[in-house]
């Protein structure tokens, strides 16, 4: 049963299994283990970014296609839910309709981009996605009457998922709609993560791996390489859009900063690389590490700076304002020491 769920793709390392189990259990019981608004915020963000990073890994790690438009699809999902809820009123109908419509639209747009550029070289695809993503980001900030421009807009979600919905107490924790919302986000992310894991372990996924390894031979034994790459691009885009929908649902807000910015694109790239490309599991680890670092590195550095007050240079270096510097250092070190990512390292020291 469990093997079927993870599609027979075992973590293949005891430490890796423990880490993954810890992430899974930590997220599953987050509202009870880590009380507080900020912790729940972080847990939801981790769940969503695991899905987003996994969908990006399908493209980057399994197909060898570099795309810079992944946040654009992520944003499409978010705006889809936002706009549907804004115009159709609060309710589950608009949420579902908005996310499905956005996912279909994202897949369609990905199809068009792929059609124009995947036939040519991979670098061309990267350039096109960069151009389209920038254009869309500008468009979204300009069309402020529809999208709220740079400010974005907030919208209402069903009352059942709001903080005002109180449903009693379990283990000393007040179960509110917010926690219910968290579980909606968590379980949908988890289910879609398993779907991605299944796709990469399917016959289709094996062909993707073959194309990544040697596209010339894949073509020579009769596979239409472009077609496989195109389908993978579309699936990846649709998954990213669904992740975006969840993110909007969680934040009850959409804006370019939270979904379309290029920084998120870079974070995503880092998550996949740090976790280990071409190993879906790596996305789970990469996303967790990145989100935790972004959220808590500043705190950690704050206390470290306080502790080293006596040492002049060090305490200045550890100032919380320098957290980006340290994140950069961490990234360089991790790429240097784990070129095949954390998962690759744990699996075979390769």
């Amino acid at each position: 049963m469990l093997m079927r769920l993870i599609s027979g793709d075992r973590p293949r390392s005891r430490i890796l299994t423990l880490v993954l189990l810890a992430i899974f259990l930590g997220l599953l019981f987050a509202p009870f283990l880590f009380p507080g608004v900020r912790a729940l915020e972080t847990a939801a963000r981790i769940s969503i970014f695991i899905l987003l990073a996994a969908s990006y890994d399908l493209l980057l790690g399994y197909t060898g296609v570099v795309s810079f438009a992944h946040t654009m699809f992520f944003g499409m999902g978010a705006y889809g839910v936002g706009l549907a809820s804004q115009h159709m009123g609060r309710g589950f109908g608009p949420l579902i309709l908005g996310s499905l419509a956005a996912a279909v639209l994202a897949a369609a747009l990905a199809f068009i981009i792929a059609l124009f550029s995947l036939r040519v070289r991979a670098i061309f695809f990267a350039m096109i996605t960069l151009a389209v993503a920038s254009a869309v980001a500008v468009l979204v900030s300009q069309l402020s009457s529809i999208t709220g421009g740079e400010d974005g807009f907030t919208f209402q979600i069903p009352r059942a998922l709001g903080p005002a919905n109180r449903m009693g107490e379990v283990m000393g924790v007040n179960i509110t709609g917010k926690i219910l919302n968290y579980y909606v986000v968590f379980f949908i992310s988890l289910a879609l993560f398993f779907v991605l894991l299944r796709i990469v372990n399917s016959p289709f996924g094996t062909v993707l791996k073959a194309i990544r390894e040697n596209d010339f031979r894949a073509e020579a034994i009769g596979y239409r390489v472009v077609r496989y790459r195109t389908i993978a691009t579309c699936i990846s885009a649709a998954m990213a859009a669904l992740a975006g929908s969840l993110f909007a649902l969680w934040l009850r807000y959409v804006g370019p900063e939270t979904t379309l910015s290029f920084e998120i694109m870079l974070d995503l790239l880092l998550m996949v690389v740090i976790g280990g490309m071409g190993t879906i599991w790596g996305a789970a680890i990469g996303a967790t590490v990145m989100v935790l670092a972004q959220t808590y590195l500043q705190d950690l550095m704050g206390s470290a700076a306080d502790a080293t007050m006596a040492i002049p240079m060090l305490s200045r270096l550890l100032d919380p304002d320098r957290w980006l510097l340290w994140l950069g250092v961490l990234f360089i070190l991790s790429v240097y020491f784990f070129p095949s990512g954390i998962v690759g390292r744990l699996r075979g020291g390769r």
């Binding site: 779907v195 796709i199 094996t206 010339f216």
Partner: protein, 253 residues
Amino acid sequence: MTDLLQTQDLTVRFGGHVAVDAVTCAFRAGELTAIVGPNGAGKTTYFNLISGQIPASSGTVRLMGEPIDRLSASERCRRGLGRAFQLTSLFPGLSVLENVRLAIQAHRPVRGSLFSMATSHEALTTEATSVLERVRLDNVRDQPVSELSHGNQRKLEVAMLIALDPKVYMFDEPTAGMSADEAPVVLDLIAELKADTDRTILLVEHKMDVIRTLADRIIVLHNGELVADGDPAEVMASDVVQEAYMGKGLSDV
């Protein structure tokens, strides 16, 4: 006997250099044709033109009577043109079994390609294993290809072609770099394939003893031109072939 594969005036130019020059030739079912010629004669290029790896400058390739010039390499393969490569070209990060399974899956689409587990298609695995048994690679089937010896990689190259189950087999020096005890496995296998009379086999080969035992017919390429075609013993004795090998007897090569 019917012609499975024909090339007519097949030509390719690279700049001013004519690598394959108006080669017209037909390959019949149930026949093994050895393609010989000195290095740089255009043998591999001729293969590349037939299997669609490079486009021809002019001329036509017909597979079972149909022109296939406009088709991509993958479409040609799906129509029954199978090709093994001189420089091993495999999927190094995947296992031996996965490599062969991919070749089978290419011409026999599986149900639920997207949402079923690759390992759950047992018929595919069984068939792949039986192909591996034929080249004696079943004992390393779960190893990644990158860890195989050179000889075993060459065998896998042949296994991939057999797994495609094509109408036309194209072997490009299948035993190059194999040790003396490994080569017979591959050569016996090619001899076995010959017994199937609906297929045709094209074999680029340098080793004369191999050609003598396997070939029904020899064609000789020299500077891209077809200079001789016929019965092995006759062709090898002909002046034009002796000339092509720069005065050396073919039997000495």
